[in-house]
């Protein structure tokens, strides 16, 4: 049976792993290669690496680090951060990374997503959409690491990304990031109801039950999480971890939950 994918979403800054809260205050977690070795042992479904400063520092992806990352990853890997041209994507894929996510530049230039999907195939291109809640509860797509509003509504923008040929949507809630208070199910539901491509829920996961909710109630095809897989306990001690497979299977089987 096909299981919903559960994936650590790991943030890169200056070559190290960090974790943010609401896209702010990146706290140092450790070396990405050590983390990957642990995730290999735990047999995680997939990994996402996002370089959170590549776009705002207007620089290339960290190719050297990505080479090291790819050579250690025996699961699919998505990279995002500072991707603005087809040649950059070609370079990233050549290292052994499967998918590339496009975020800020997809807003400035949606045709770029089409060019990338035509060249590399839809299943290689992930549209990463960061969303914040405005004052009266409306949602807005934001770019540049959450710094800049775009005026786009996430549902409309997600549909546009699908039309442009994106193969998946990584839907990230700025408010929920790092809080471990659960996913924004309303946001996920609104997007999954409007597109046919898989949506990866991101932002807010704190426990296995949150995955069940994102999949069963939100309609997500996959769930990403950061804090839950890099911290332990209320004091947020760094601990690279991943739930046992049986526990995930129990929670994610249709109609299943982990209580009792």
């Amino acid at each position: 049976m096909l299981m919903p994918r559960i994936m650590p979403c790991l943030l890169l800054k200056d070559g190290g792993l960090v974790k943010t809260v609401k896209f702010k205050n990146p706290g140092y977690i450790g070396d990405p290669i050590n983390a990957i070795r642990i995730y290999n042992e735990k047999e995680v479904d997939e990994l996402i690496f996002l370089d959170i400063t590549a776009t705002i520092e207007k620089r290339d992806p960290p190719y050297q680090k990505l080479t090291e990352i790819a050579s250690e990853c025996f699961m699919p890997v998505t990279y995002g951060g500072g991707v603005r041209d087809v040649e950059t994507i070609r370079h990233i894929l050549s290292l052994g990374i499967e998918k590339v996510s496009v975020n800020s530049y997809a807003v400035e230039n949606p045709d770029f997503v089409r060019a990338a999907a035509d060249r590399f195939g839809s299943s290689t291109i992930v549209a990463s959409i960061d969303v914040r809640k405005k004052l009266f509860g409306q949602y807005e797509v934001v770019i540049d690491g959450g710094r800049k509003g775009t005026g786009f509504d996430p549902v409309t923008f997600a549909v546009k990304m699908e039309q442009m040929g994106a193969g998946e949507i990584l839907l990230n809630s700025v408010e929920r990031d790092g809080t471990q208070k659960g996913y924004d199910i309303d946001l996920i539901k609104s997007v999954t109801g409007a597109v046919g491509i898989p949506v990866i829920a991101c932002g807010g996961a704190g426990q296995v039950e949150d995955f069940s909710a994102a999949v069963a109630d939100g309609g997500a095809s996959a769930c990403a999480a950061g804090s839950m897989f890099v911290y332990y306990g209320t004091n947020r001690a760094v601990l690279i971890t991943f739930p046992e497979r049986r526990k995930l299977e129990e929670a994610l089987k249709p109609g299943g939950d982990v209580s009792g």
Binding site: L2, M3, R5, D45, A70, P76, G96, E98, S123, G167
Partner: protein, 206 residues
């Protein structure tokens, strides 16, 4: 030497990384006829559309040599993902004929995504049901599962060639073997210990 055929489609780096992991440091990604000629084993990778794949393969000018290596010299060959589909006679995805090394064709998933609630592409980790161990599943770990990304799948005209099936809407052939020609629809290079074991079995096949 194991040659991973480079025709500009697919994740060559990850296959190379996986082969290093299973102890094959000298595998090589190449599109040079001289490399293909002296290859002991061939891997045909691939991600993307069928016609683009066949077109690029034609542009390399390697098809004649590959036919000779695979069909006459019986060089053990592994097709992966699109590389599996290219081994068939044709695909519903495109117009160009396939390599036709196995008696099979490539078809679209035959279900309605709206009615079944199943998305296309079939993407993620799925289990396989092994009907015969063949080469690739010798001493495989229990409950093998692999990472899939595909919208089309292979239908074998020769039921004996089907090594393993996977359920997505219905059961389809996820691994095929016809003598020295083997193929997997999933990405073993991205499937943890299960994929490592599969590559190891291919590497050790004689």
């Amino acid at each position: 030497m194991i040659i991973i055929v480079d025709y500009g489609m697919g994740n060559l780096g990850s296959i190379l990384n996986m082969l290093k992991k299973v102890g094959i440091p000298d595998a090589k990604v190449s599109s040079l006829p001289s490399d293909i000629e002296r290859a002991d084993k061939l891997i045909l990778p691939g991600v993307g559309a069928f016609d683009t794949g066949m077109q690029r393969l034609r542009e390399t000018g390697l098809i004649g040599l590959l036919n000779e290596k695979v069909l006459s010299a019986k060089t053990p060959t592994l097709g992966v993902c699109l590389g599996m589909q290219l081994l068939t006679k044709f695909s519903e995805e495109g117009q160009l004929p396939g390599l036709g090394w196995i008696d099979a064709e490539t078809v679209r998933f035959r279900f309605d995504p709206m009615k079944t609630g199943l998305k296309i592409p079939h993407m993620g980790w799925n289990t396989v049901k092994v009907s015969q161990p063949g080469t690739l599943f010798l001493d495989m770990y229990d409950e093998p599962r692999f990472y899939f990304v595909h919208s089309f799948h292979v239908v074998s005209h020769n039921p004996d060639d089907v090594v393993a099936v996977t359920e997505y809407g219905y059961e389809f052939a996820s691994v095929i073997q016809h003598g020295h020609i083997m193929a997997a629809q999933f990405h073993p290079e991205k499937s943890h210990k299960f994929g490592m074991k599969l590559y190891k079995n291919f590497v050790e096949y004689a």
